[in-house]
Symmetry: C2
Subunit: 118 residues, 2 copies
Amino acid sequence: MSIPLKRMDAGVDATSECCTLDAAPLGADDAGRVAKKLKALADPTRLRLLSHVAAQGCDAVCACDLVDVLDISQPTISHHMKKLVEAGLLTREQRGKWAHYTVTRDAFDELRRFLDLR
Amino acid sequence: MSIPLKRMDAGVDATSECCTLDAAPLGADDAGRVAKKLKALADPTRLRLLSHVAAQGCDAVCACDLVDVLDISQPTISHHMKKLVEAGLLTREQRGKWAHYTVTRDAFDELRRFLDLR
């Protein structure tokens, strides 16, 4: 049987069980930046495209491979990928005929920190 | 000087350095559900309201306190809080005249898992 040494007062919930979003309430500038990224993510097709890029590991993924995977047209894929690149969630590199995409890990770090309820 | 024992082939990046979003590419149903939550979050005012509720710990937060904090009108707050409740991100409880809100931690667990790039 273990004794919860850090709980000094049984009448107060342990802070580790409580909720916080990041360290403090979000300011207007931070809220605007996070909302812009979330808006780009808030679409089922974009979420699926992004998850396919991320699931390939660190390698860049060719737009040509995404056509087969999701069974949607190339123009539709280009439209959605552009939104993700503009939001800083993906980086785009042209290689010959095809664009190649990789996930921007820093952008997700910020989102994850914000959503890190404890 | 340390030797990277797990790197068996110098031509292949160590998998621990690679990106994945959740375990596998997202299916259509999961993408729809996650997108709905992200859409509710993708607004600067809603993010700020949510962060204020979460920053109060596990206790329910009265809508009356949110008016003072963000300097926006009660009807505007009600509109935004309704969107967050509908998306399952907050729960609402009426206590006398005022609604009280708490964060739904399970909903954030799912979002965080999705955004957990490794």
